[in-house]
Amino acid sequence: MTPPAGQLVVEKLILHFGGLTALSGVNLEARPGEILAVIGPNGAGKTSLLNCISGLYHPNSGTITFGQKDITKMPAPTRARLGIARTFQNIELFRHMTVLENLMLGRHIHLKTGVLAGGLYWRWAQSEEVQHRRVVEEIIDFLEIERIRKKTVGTLAYGLQKRVELGRALALEPKLLLLDEPMAGMNTEEKEDMARFILDINEERGVTVILIEHDMGVVMDISDRVAVLDFGRKIAEGKPEEVKENPEVIKAYLGGKDLQLTVV
């Protein structure tokens, strides 16, 4: 049987920065249609792992397979074309453009018009744009950001920027969505909204989600499985309730064996 499209397999991934080892032989599998949370203390290598998957870092060794394709050596833009989209821990929006423009840029990989025709802006490029606009408007409705669609992103509140960034990733119509701390710095209400969006994206669009998050309540609530990284190694993987009880995990977080991981 051929593996479905949203499947991602990471094998024996090793990444060094000079003498510093960020990832030492990480294996990870995201099954199609699931929400996989990656957790771990600061500096465990979570974002490095995400950067390897999206193509911003290239690992020293190991392989990354997406669907059936080995994407280990592929440049980031090609991976975006295959259906991998992401958001960033520290928001990386096009700050001087409007919300709408940011989302339309998410449609970049779906534009069929070539450089020349697009450059000259032929009429059929225009009709194509109308279609993309429809997709983008649906995302705007979904994320409830109608009111701010014409606003310049740099002027928006932090929570809204996070939402716009999620929208831009959605505009790629990805099969795999990488979310790097989508709820960092949010209040409870904003977190609830974001959790709802992530669940809807996963259920309605069938998108596989890999999520890095520090809020354990959220992680335990919304993810199907959890993988735990510590010092560049994967120390545990499994259903939220299993991971919660895992002594290795408790040790990594709290530094001792006897303490209980307090989860709300």
Partner: protein, 294 residues
């Protein structure tokens, strides 16, 4: 009164060409934060290429310019690939220094190929001056202004609406995010340099028609620096407005102050303005203000 009008009109006309050359500057700065000190040499190369196609290969004017544009585009992309790309990720100052080196190298090569003599374009534009209600303007200037305006409009449109233009703006804004959107930053940079070289070629041809083609054309690249600083280094409308303002101010300063001070004011005026802008409005008229919180 006629004297004032005459000065303003000449200023406007030369301002159009300033704006065009400034656009090449702004393009590269917008995309990669690099100030290209070899811009003047690009002008000179463009003019020489066009002349070579015209005189050596005996092509008519339009095909000759198209030929020069093609070579310039390839050259621009090659410069990006060979000189700038290896420096991606290095401090910006290294890249800027590299463009200074590039400028010296190109200048040397130019003299090897085309010598140091002034070469002149054959008469392409009509030679008679036109009298606009007392103000006399040579037709070469009017044609230059017209061509510059058309190109400026095209480029504004390109950046505002076209896919490639928007991808280039996105790259300028945030490279990581652009990569994640499936935009190839390498392609965007290559296109930026190719376009800058193409614009400079047109600028070089226009200026060459007015002044002749020799090394002083390369100094023009430097002269445009006040224009981009005034307009804001990363603003296309800024380059256009800045071009016209500097063109007019320079002519006014030359016309009114030269007789009092014994000449040369016209050459210095833009740089005095440059110093004033940097003191009063360091981001220029339309530049984006980068306020960094530390």
């Amino acid at each position: 009164m006629v004297f004032l009008l005459q000065l303003i009109v000449s200023g406007l006309v030369i301002g159009g060409v300033y704006a065009l050359v400034a656009l090449g500057f702004v393009l590269i700065y917008k995309a990669s934060d690099v100030i290209n000190f070899a811009q003047g040499e690009f002008l000179l190369i463009g003019a020489h290429l066009a002349l070579t196609f015209l005189l050596v290969f005996n092509l008519p004017f339009i095909p000759a310019v198209l030929g020069a544009l093609t070579v310039a585009v390839v050259l621009g992309a090659a410069v990006e690939r060979v000189v700038l790309r290896p420096l991606i990720g290095e401090p910006i100052i290294s890249m800027i220094m590299a463009t200074i080196g590039l400028s010296s190298a190109l200048r040397g090569l130019l003299q090897v190929f085309w010598g140091t003599e002034t070469r002149t374009f054959p008469n392409i534009f009509p030679q008679d001056a036109i009298n606009l209600g007392g103000v006399v303007v040579s037709q070469v200037y009017l044609w230059s202004l017209g061509i510059a305006l058309v190109l400026l409009a095209l480029f504004s449109f390109f950046f505002k609406r076209s896919i490639m233009g928007i991808a280039m703006r996105a790259t300028a804004d945030d490279q990581q995010a652009a990569l994640s959107m499936g935009i190839s930053v390498k392609v965007a940079f290559a296109v930026t340099w190719a376009l800058a070289a193409a614009i400079s070629t047109v600028g070089g041809v226009l200026l060459g028609n007015i002044n002749g083609v020799n090394i002083s054309l390369a100094h023009f690249g430097l002269k445009v620096l006040p224009v981009v600083i005034l307009g804001g280094l990363d603003s296309i409308p800024g380059a256009i407005v800045g071009g016209f303002i500097i063109g007019i101010l320079e002519n006014l300063a030359g016309g009114y102050l030269d007789p009092l001070l014994g000449g040369g004011v016209k050459e210095v005026a833009p740089f005095i303005i440059l110093v004033l802008i940097l003191m009063l409005k360091p981001y220029g008229l339309f530049g984006k203000q980068v306020i960094e919180r530390v």
